[in-house]
Point group: C2
Chain length 206, copies 2
DNA sequence: CGCCTAAGATAGAGCTACTATCCAATGGCT
DNA sequence: AGCCATTGGATAGTAGCTCTATCTTAGGCG
């Protein structure tokens, strides 16, 4: 198909498609000759991926490029998933060079029997724990225990969805949307829990 | 103190202070006469609040204005906290008119013994659950149970910080930063849980 | 008396994500 | 054969956000 048809099929304006081409998010079509290019089903799927990442998961172009370049470079699935996670869960601003491991971080990993190794996720957790300790926000271990237990279950479930296909774009789409949705769910539950506490505590003695 | 001193004490440029004044985030100083105004300790604290909300919690000016206007209008503490929550936990895009209650939402509220009433938080949760069901992302009740149990504990802890003072700006600062930090913590734990699962599942058979 | 600072208005800057315009080349329909 | 639609490529413009800078007028303080 030509650009115009691609545009119609994906409800994306030709101008935007050209923009994504320029930005390297969408691979160029097969050049038939100087003024004609052919696009395939792959381009349709890629555009759908871009659309979901932009408007559902709310990533910016740079973040989408990071993920898509890995996929196009044929990186191993684990590496792609790690990148998706880093970007979707906003780990980036929290990953620091030479951040120290925390007691609580170690304890949680041991309690859950998670593999004890360095990773962006582990690093980001330690940084967050240190940050909160610095601000005097307390987190007893029992709480992290309860938490991580629940999250462990969700994580297993979430991931199982991504192993059903071999197409990298599909894996990314499923993983990114799944991670985003779960993280939102947790935030909504936290909000409701907090609201409930606030009502109980403040409504009686305003 | 005059504008310049306020600027120096809060490490904010006079231009930015003027901007916040224009935007109504910072109350005008006490006008001595046409070309002189006096600012107080209150302005210092307000600027610190604005700074934290902008650069730690990452709210935009509009969101900060929403919160600050409530506080300045002398709204009840519960209402202020609800607004802080709505903004900080990103409930806004998820709150819908006439969204239906979900079975799972009801079940969670009953399990936790939370007050069963309409609220933005409850609404946002129901919308999120429906959204995920629509996408075919499964969430067994046992999972929500475990989750909400952990979150319930955190929420109680978090809120207790905010009842230590009577100054509205302080309450907002503590609540906003606390909520933000806890939500980040949960996201980091989810990330680590997911990473651990991914390692176990994909590293053996890449 | 002149300098500093104030308020107030307006304009500009830098970023992001598009959106629009212009171009020459050219395939395919008529 | 000829013309219209479409292409890639280049470039420029727009819109929203958060500042940042400049300019003006005015007045107190040393």
């Amino acid at each position: 198909m030509q650009l115009k048809e691609l545009s119609e099929r994906t409800a994306t304006t030709p101008a935007s498609i050209k923009y994504y081409l320029r930005e390297g998010l969408l691979p160029p079509g097969e050049t038939v000759h100087a003024t004609r290019a052919r696009y395939s089903q792959r381009h349709v799927k890629r555009l759908e991926l871009i659309h979901a990442l932009r408007h559902i998961v709310h990533l910016n172009i740079e973040q989408i490029r990071t993920i898509i370049e890995m996929a196009d470079d044929g990186a191993p699935r684990l590496a792609v998933l790690a990148t998706v996670q880093r970007v979707v869960l906003g780990l980036e601003p929290n990953v620091r060079e030479g951040a120290e491991r925390t007691y609580l971080g170690d304890a949680v990993v041991r309690l859950r029997g998670w593999p004890d190794r360095d990773s962006d996720a582990r690093n980001a957790l330690d940084v967050q724990i240190s940050l909160m300790e610095g601000l005097g926000i307390s987190m007893p271990l029992e709480l992290l225990d309860a938490y991580s237990q629940a999250l462990d279950t969700i994580a297993g479930l979430d991931l199982s969805l991504t192993t059903a296909t071999d197409d990298v774009d599909d894996i990314i789409l499923t993983a990114a949307v799944g991670m985003h949705m779960h993280s939102q769910l947790v935030l909504r539950l936290l909000a409701l829990a907090q609201a409930s506490h606030a009502i109980r505590r403040l409504e009686i003695a305003p």
